[in-house]
Amino acid sequence: MSMKTVFERTTGLTEKPTHYCPGCTHGLIHRLVGEVLEEMDILEDTIGVAAVGCSVLSYEYFNCDMTQAAHGRAPAVATGIKRVLPNRFIFTYQGDGDLASIGISEIIHAAARGEKITVIFVNNAIYGMTGGQMAPTSLIGQKTATTPDGRNASVQGLPIRVSEMLATLDGSAYIERVSTHDVPHILKAKKAIRKAFETQKQGLGLSLVEVLSTCPTNWGLDPHESLDWVRDAMIPVYPLGVYKNEAGGN
């Protein structure tokens, strides 16, 4: 009986087990990025920038050179690297607290400058690492450690739609929002990540993939309910789709 290999580790990731909670989709998104880097054969030419938040240790998981940035500053750090090494692939891996709150200035200006970097923006509508506080992307009514009665628009303001906002900037070249709540969407997410790195390769401007992700621990849901919550609660507020595609094609 001959055995056929149907599933392997990607060389895009190290063999270190991740620290992410059960049901969290960070690990999955890491894998998608790792696979794309492997398939494009650019691992050796890539430098990743880890952000602050649950993914702060992502530098231990991506199998390429990595630099760790201060909270929210990853796009500025990536700018510094890319400007010195324009022929390398530079990506940042940032959560919603990091990118959409403390680092909103850095991402907007990196996009406005058309920095030729790729941003993996993981949006799970909450601060994970610090213990489930409100994020700029938390939904109206969403209960968090800092909105115990639910996010109230008149008190805590309204969610930021990062993809839509950045798409208005002429310097952004590819922007797509994807989800990880089921397999077809995960496959679509990988295609978007690939497209983002291809956009960088073509030197067209900033590419960003917003990945809707789960946080069962801080949402107080089990992993399956979490996936449903992404589909039923998040996607209506954060519609999936391509918001910018300067390269054209799929």
Binding site: V56, A76, V77, T79, G80, L85, R88, E106, H109
Partner: protein, 360 residues
């Protein structure tokens, strides 16, 4: 190359180019904006890159990114902007990345004003950002000295994998003096095998980070950092003395204030008062030796600063109770005049009744 008349801020920029710095990220702020503008024009001429960031915070983090690739990189600012850079500076220390950061100090606190000051002394010498750390701080007092110290700053940064601060006051940035850029000597070579430039051809992935979640590991790492600071303290002390051999009283001043003090000292010497000067060039590490050599025989020291009294704390530590330490300072952008310093000398050194003279 002959002498050229240049503004201090421009000298700083050109000196960095001479030190093979090819990358600059910054944000305009008075009184150092000429440095930013000079770099914008000059760096493309030498195949380098200038980028105006959206904020000082972004600028220092761009510096962090560029430094992580192993190149020589610089940023500059003035007091309020320098405060914003503190976050990134702490990260540079933690991640052991070399960079040169210029602070052309203006009056504070808060928005303060744009006049010359030295009131960021605590901030630059005592850490300023979070965590246990020190950064070498060089304080030139003439534009020619800027040329030499800027070269040193980049070398120190590379040697220790550490940020280095060049501190000047607004006066130093704005004034013009003749300077000479000596024929370029070959730059020293430093190990950059730690840089993250992609793994192609250089082995496994490298990581640049200041994060160490395990307490014991972080303590170990901090111990190594402390060792490095101790070595800097041993190797990187710079100072100058003037007429200290027979001095009864010694003025301690740095930067442009030391020059103003020099005029007052010369005048005092003419009237027979034995006054000397210790001019710290490295503010950290603070030069202790010239105090150890004089503190048992002088009658006292006078720390003269453009602040309410900051360096005086280091002077007192270095004097260690052996002699009284007096102070004269002006704040808020007011520059102490030679007449004021002379008057202070007379008051402290005594023996002569001070009469207001119009001109010394």
């Amino acid at each position: 190359m002959g002498k050229v008349l240049m503004k201090g801020n421009e000298v700083l920029a050109e000196a960095a180019v001479h030190a093979d710095c090819r990358y600059y990220f910054g944000y305009p702020i008075t009184p150092q904006s000429e440095l930013v503008a000079y770099m914008a024009r000059r760096l493309p001429e030498v195949g380098g890159l200038f980028l105006q960031a959206e904020s000082e915070i972004a600028a220092i983090n761009m510096v962090y990114g560029a430094a992580s690739t192993g190149v020589r990189v610089m940023t500059s600012s003035s007091s309020p902007g320098f405060s914003l850079k503190q976050e990134g500076i702490s990260y540079l220390v933690g991640s052991e990345l070399p960079a040169v950061i210029v602070n052309i100090v203006r009056g504070g606190p808060g928005l303060g004003n744009i006049q010359p000051a030295q009131s960021d002394y605590f901030q630059v010498t005592k850490g300023g950002g979070h965590g246990d750390y020190h950064i070498p701080v060089l304080a030139p007092s003439t534009l020619q000295e800027i040329v030499d110290l800027t070269m040193d700053a980049f070398d120190i940064a590379d040697k220790y994998r550490s940020p280095v601060i060049i501190m000047g006051d607004g006066m130093l940035g704005q004034m013009m003096e003749p300077v000479e850029f000596k024929e370029k000597v070959e730059s020293k070579q430093f190990d950059k095998s730690w840089a993250t430039t992609g793994t192609r051809g250089d082995g496994g992935p490298k990581i640049i980070t200041s994060l160490e979640l395990d307490a014991d590991s972080l303590e170990k790492r901090n111990t190594l950092l402390q060792k490095k600071f101790a070595e800097m303290k041993e190797q990187e002390v710079r100072y100058e003395t003037y007429c200290t051999e027979d001095a009864d009283y010694i003025i301690v001043a740095y930067g442009t204030v030391a020059r103003i003090a020099m005029n007052a000292i010369n005048k005092a010497r003419e009237t027979g008062l034995k006054i000397g000067l210790i001019r710290p060039i490295s503010l950290w590490p603070f030069p202790e030796k010239p105090f150890e050599e004089t503190r048992k025989r002088v009658k006292g020291y006078i720390s003269v600063e453009m602040s309410a009294g900051q360096m005086i704390e280091d002077v007192r530590l270095a004097v260690n109770g052996h002699a009284p330490v007096d102070f004269y300072g002006r704040t808020g952008g007011v520059v102490p005049t030679q007449e004021e310093i002379y008057e202070k000398i007379i008051t402290v050194a005594g023996g002569l009744k001070y009469e207001h003279e119009n001109g010394i």
